[in-house]
Structure formats: structure tokens, C-alpha cells
């Protein structure tokens, strides 16, 4: 992997179309990593169909899956870039949301979850409406927007504008933000690279989850939804397609991604896998 430069499409290109199942431009792993879309071609689904008991599934997991189905953790680092644009009032925020780059919208919505700590709202625009402008109701309206439910960044941008326009149609323009509390529009350059952890089965996944960097959790759980679309994340996809654990995958997919910080997501994943492994261990021979 070292010394290889594989320029990837910029977020706006890649992510804007990422939800179109037929044309996903970014795969979760580069072609030479162990676990990728080739899993299906190698027939792991086929083998999985033959496994009917918890006992045999357990055996599959403990003995380990084939080498080329390992889950390789990746880390993600973003370096923010200022657009040089800032908003002091709601109308300035609205106008700039309408014109800034898709990378910028991406940074303030999807990228929001990369923050280690959870704030009161669920994207930077809502956070600023609530804390900078002290417009609690607008913050709530912006906060309920599910960025991951949109087909493209353009659609998400349209929804942000619709919510702000609906608010300003009903309420007077709020006072400007206090000096030093303006909204600064940013975008980012992103680096994705192997985290140095490769796991072969659920037990190893459980162990790795306890130690991986928070940025790995963000990459595989949040960022994956943009790459894979349709509420998918790398963990549930691997568990379902390789390990053969549809119930575990379903439990992972059922996590409300908006209601936890990254540490909370880590704890939930650990709890789910631990519980499922415990169940398997208790099956009588």
C-alpha cells in the first residue's frame, strides 16, 4: 500500500452520487484490500446459506473466515479549509448555504459527526441557529433533517434552504450573532488510510472495537452511509455478508445514528456483538 497514490474523486463528485446504488463511485475498500465487493463473487453468501445453527455459525466465526474476507479498519483525517465566508445573520447564512460548494455543505452536515463530542443539535447549521442566534425553534427544525436520507448534497442543500425559508416566512429576522460568534463556512481535504487493524471474525471485531481510533468508527459507521447509501454501514455489511449474522447486522443497522456520539456508538457496537457472542457461546452442543 505504501508509496501508492490513488487519487480519489473529490467528495462532491463521489458523495453526491453515492446514494445511487447503480453508480457508487467509491468502494469501501481499495481493490487490493481483503474485504470488498468481491465477497459475493467468491460465494460467501452461498456458503452462508448452508449454515443453519448457531453452533456452526459460531464455528465459522471462531475458526475464522477465509483470509480474503478480513475486515480492515481504516482511519480518516480531515484538514479543514476556510472558504473565507462568514454569516452574522440568518439571511446571510441562508444566502451562503445557497451558494457555497457541496464540499462545504458536506463538511457542516455529514462531517459534523466526526466530532468526538455530541452537541445539542445534529449539524453545524442547527447548532449555530441554536447557540449563535439563539433561535431554538429553527435549531430544532434544522436538527431533525436527516442528511443521510438524501440522494445528493444538492437535495440536502434544498431542504436546508426550505426549512430556513419556512422559518423566516413566519418569524422576524433574528438579531445578528454576537461578535466572535459568527458562522464560518468551511470545507475539508480528507485522508483515508489503513488503521493497522485487520480482523477475521466477530471475536476479533469485538476486541478491535475496544481499541480503534474514534475516526475509524466515524469512517465505517457514518461516512460509510454516504459511500454505500441506503442506511448501510461497513460493520453491518461485513457481519451480514461475511460472518453470516443477519440478526447482528440488523441490530447494528437499528442504531439511531443521531442520538449518540462516537464513543456511544463504539459502546453500542461492543454491547451488541458481546451479547450475540455470549448467546452463541451458550448454545449446547
Amino acid at each position: 500500500m505504501t508509496g501508492r497514490r490513488r487519487p480519489a474523486p473529490g467528495p462532491s463528485q463521489a458523495r453526491a452520487s453515492a446514494h445511487h446504488a447503480q453508480s457508487r463511485p467509491v468502494t469501501p475498500f481499495p481493490p487490493d484490500t481483503p474485504y470488498l465487493s468481491g465477497v459475493k463473487q467468491k460465494g460467501y453468501h452461498g456458503e452462508g446459506q448452508g449454515i443453519t445453527t448457531l453452533e456452526t455459525r459460531m464455528t465459522q466465526q471462531i475458526i475464522t473466515a477465509a483470509k480474503n474476507t478480513a475486515f480492515e479498519f481504516r482511519d480518516i483525517v480531515t484538514i479543514p479549509r476556510s472558504t473565507g465566508q462568514k454569516a452574522e445573520t440568518l439571511s446571510e447564512l441562508r444566502d451562503l448555504i445557497a451558494e457555497v460548494s457541496e464540499d462545504c455543505i458536506f463538511y457542516h452536515t455529514y462531517g459534523y459527526f466526526a466530532k468526538g463530542h455530541i452537541l445539542e443539535y445534529t449539524n453545524d447549521f442547527a447548532q449555530w441557529a441554536g447557540k449563535g442566534l439563539e433561535e431554538g425553534m429553527l435549531a430544532e427544525h434544522l436538527s431533525i433533517i436527516d442528511a443521510f436520507a438524501f440522494e445528493s448534497v444538492a437535495d440536502l442543500r434544498a431542504e436546508l434552504l426550505r426549512v430556513i425559508d419556512a422559518y423566516t416566512a413566519n418569524f422576524p429576522e433574528p438579531r445578528p450573532a454576537m461578535p466572535g460568534n459568527q458562522f464560518y463556512f468551511k470545507e475539508a481535504v480528507t485522508y483515508v488510510f489503513p488503521a493497522g487493524f485487520r480482523v477475521m471474525n466477530l471475536a476479533e471485531l469485538l476486541m478491535a472495537l475496544k481499541f480503534v481510533d474514534m475516526s475509524s468508527i466515524y469512517y465505517h459507521f457514518y461516512e460509510a452511509r454516504v459511500r454505500l447509501g441506503a442506511g448501510e454501514d461497513d460493520f453491518s455489511k461485513w457481519v451480514e455478508e461475511v460472518v453470516g449474522g443477519p440478526e447482528i447486522a440488523a441490530r447494528i443497522r437499528a442504531i439511531d445514528i443521531f442520538m449518540h456520539n462516537l464513543e456511544g456508538i463504539r459502546e453500542l457496537l461492543i454491547r451488541i456483538i458481546e451479547e450475540e457472542l455470549t448467546k452463541m457461546m451458550e448454545v449446547l452442543g
Partner: protein
């Protein structure tokens, strides 16, 4: 060398440093500033250059030379960028360019990437050698959120020639036609000021300054400057003292470039007179390990600034797992998330209230201190800053290839 940071800095930062080091191996990376010693920039460069070299990058550091007239002018430029109404005459600008031109001839500017630190050597871009593919990056460490317009506009006429600019905080950046990256400053966890100390070393410093450890200790480490509000800190301490017995340590040195420094120190001494629990410590230069120990002796650390640049002393104390109460100014809110990794205050009363909260809730102080250390580990260590410099260089080198890089 990077191995020294294993187990201290986040592994992800070290991994990316290694990856970028491999990608940029053998390339030359030249840093230029205006002083070899003194100040945060020189401190970081002293540590960064060998670290970059250990990654396989041919890193060098050059310092520009100039006469008193030049440095008087650049001091005025510096102040004007921070908002002071300075007047830079046409003659002063001419001299600024002349000195930069002389340095461009004297210095070896042959490098794949040149990172210029602050305005003093920024004019070198006007005299750079023609070298295809060479990248010039401008690092601005100064708070330019409200600059004096005429000086800023003058600098902007040639700053656009750089390939990219780097600011510490988003609010410092201005609309420009080049990419502007946000790279906050950092602390070195292995330096004398931040390294782990033994109990004996800490005790020795307590004895040296005659500090009793029989009651909670409030500590503010900063130069004696009105913007650090030392009198406000004493007033807050007195409000606390009515309810909770504690001592206060104000440690720092008079600001050498501030003619008011001596006067402020005298005022502080007079205001504190008669209270044996207030300790005013005038620290000589090179007291880094003493500062380290003082921060570790603290129960609560204060940085009650009224105006601040980035305020890295906050990160220094947070790195030691201390709950910090900081003024909600400058870069302090970027380091402290209120109620989570410290407290932000806007008044003496606010400071007193938060001190009392922490003194009465040791569990809360421990939780906040732990969160504070995690924040610094994740965001404000030198390895992250070096990582960012390489990432900016790499992104500038391959800027035609998008904004997402898989290594």
C-alpha cells in the same frame, strides 16, 4: 524519532505522518521565519525539523536577517494585523521589500515546498526563483480577524501569489483566491513544559517557591499583562475564599515587549499584599519545568484572559488533566467545550462560581480533567500539527486530484 510519541499521540496521527512521509520521501521542505530562538514558532520548528527529517523528508530551516528598521516595520505590521491603527509609510514598505529581496539572494530557496512563517519573510514570494512545481505556503500565526485595513490590503496584494495559506483559526481567514487551511497551534508533550514529572520533581518546585499543599491551589500561569486580568483573578479568588479555603498562585514573567509589564506586576503585588495565601511568582527565563510542576500542583487552573491569541497555556494545563477555567475569548473556546472539558467564563463572578463548583465536586473536577486531556491528545499535540503541514503540502501538490486522498 516519531516512535517517541507512540502511546502518547493518537496512533492515527502517527500513521498518517508515516504515510505522508513515505509519499513525500526525499523531497525538500524549507521553513523560513525571522528568529531562531524565542517565541512559539521557533519552539515548534526546533522540534519539527528533526522529526520531519526522521520521516525521510529533507527538511531545512532558514532565518531571515534584517536591520532594526526592518524589524521595527514588521513589528508595526504585526500590530496592524492584530487591529492596531499603525501607519506604514511608503518608505517603510520599500525597506521591507528591500530586506526581503536581499534575503532571497542570500538564502538557498531551492526546495520542493517552502513554508513561510508570519509576515516578516512573507515578501520573499516576490523574489522567488523560477522553479517549476515548487509550492509556496504562507503560515500566519497572528490573529488577523480584525486587521487594520490598509496594511492588510497591502499584504494581500502579494499573498495571493502563494499556493496556499494556513491560519490557526477559521475566524482569522479572509476571502482570498488561494486555499486557506485551518491548522491550530500545538504543544509538545515531550518538552520540559509538558513532560511527565515525578512526585519528587513536583515537590521540589513546591518547596522552591514555598508553596503549601495543605489546601486546594488555584494557579494562573501567564505574563503580567492587563489582558490576562490578574487583578480579576485575585478578586475571583477572594469571592471563593469566603466559602472555600484555598491558595492562589499567579506565576509569570513581565512581558519584555510591554512597557506596562512592570506597572502591572507592581499593581498585582500591591493588590495581593497582606494575604499569605496569594503567591506572586516572577519566573526567570527557561523556567519551563517549574511551570510544568506548578500546573501539576494546581487543583484548578485559570486563564481568565480578557483578550487572547490562541492561549496555548490552556492546552498545557488540560494536558496535565487539570480542570481549566478560561475567559471566553480568542482561541480559548476552541480548546474548552464549556461544561465538558472545562469552563468558559465572562466575568470575575463567573470564574468564582466555577472555582467553587470544582472545589466542592472533586468528582466533577476529575471528570473534566480527564476529558480535557483527551481533547488535547486528539487535537493539540505537535504530531497533529506536523501531520497537518504535510497534509496541506500534499493536498497542494496534488490539488488537481480532488479533496479525498486514499493512502
Amino acid at each position: 524519532m516519531i516512535e517517541q510519541y507512540a502511546g502518547i499521540s493518537p496512533k492515527r496521527d502517527l500513521l498518517l505522518l508515516q504515510k505522508l512521509g513515505q509519499e513525500l520521501e526525499g523531497k525538500t521542505f524549507l521553513h523560513i521565519n525571522s528568529t531562531k530562538a524565542g517565541g512559539g514558532v521557533a519552539e515548534i520548528l526546533q522540534r519539527m525539523i528533526p522529526l520531519l527529517q526522521s520521516l525521510g523528508i529533507d527538511a531545512r530551516w532558514e532565518v531571515i536577517e534584517g536591520d532594526q528598521k526592518f524589524f521595527d516595520t514588521t513589528k508595526k505590521i504585526h500590530n496592524a494585523l492584530q487591529g492596531d491603527p499603525e501607519k506604514i509609510s511608503e518608505k517603510m514598505w520599500e525597506h521591507y521589500y528591500e530586506i526581503n529581496k536581499q534575503n532571497a539572494t542570500k538564502l538557498d530557496l531551492a526546495a520542493d515546498a517552502v513554508l513561510i512563517h508570519d509576515p516578516q519573510p512573507a515578501g520573499l514570494i516576490n523574489f522567488k526563483p523560477k522553479r517549476p512545481g515548487q509550492k509556496w505556503l504562507l503560515r500566519c500565526h497572528i490573529d488577523v480577524s480584525s486587521p487594520h485595513q490598509s496594511v492588510f490590503k497591502h499584504l494581500a496584494t502579494f499573498c495571493g501569489k502563494y499556493d496556499a495559506a494556513i491560519f490557526s483559526v477559521a475566524s482569522f481567514a479572509k476571502p482570498m483566491k488561494i486555499h486557506e487551511y485551518i491548522v491550530p497551534p500545538s504543544i509538545d508533550p515531550l518538552s520540559d513544559k509538558n513532560k511527565e514529572l515525578s512526585e519528587e520533581e513536583i515537590r521540589a518546585v513546591a518547596e522552591k517557591y514555598d508553596l503549601q499543599r495543605d489546601k486546594p491551589m488555584l494557579v494562573q500561569v501567564s505574563r503580567f499583562d492587563r489582558f490576562k486580568d490578574p487583578l480579576g483573578v485575585i478578586r475571583a479568588y477572594r469571592m471563593v475564599k469566603k466559602y472555600n479555603d484555598c491558595s492562589l498562585v499567579l506565576a509569570g514573567s513581565p512581558a519584555s515587549d510591554d512597557p506596562e509589564g512592570e506597572a502591572v506586576l507592581a499593581e498585582v503585588r500591591e493588590f495581593a499584599a497582606g494575604d499569605p495565601d496569594i503567591h506572586i511568582l516572577l519566573l526567570p527565563p527557561y523556567s519551563d519545568q517549574d511551570i510544568n510542576a506548578l500546573q501539576r500542583l494546581a487543583t484548578v487552573v485559570l486563564q481568565k484572559s480578557l483578550k487572547e491569541g490562541f492561549g496555548l497555556t490552556v492546552s498545557e494545563a488540560m494536558w496535565k488533566g487539570k480542570p481549566v477555567i478560561g475567559g471566553a475569548v480568542g482561541g480559548i473556546p476552541l480548546q474548552i467545550t464549556h461544561g465538558n472539558s472545562g469552563f468558559l467564563v465572562r466575568s470575575e463572578e463567573g470564574a468564582a462560581f466555577r472555582i467553587r463548583q470544582l472545589l466542592n465536586n472533586p468528582g466533577m473536577a476529575t471528570r473534566i480533567g480527564k476529558a480535557a486531556k483527551a481533547v488535547v491528545r486528539d487535537n493539540f499535540l505537535i504530531t497533529r500539527q506536523i501531520r497537518d503541514y504535510l497534509a496541506v503540502w500534499y493536498a497542494t501538490e496534488f490539488q488537481d486530484q480532488g479533496t479525498l486522498f486514499e493512502l
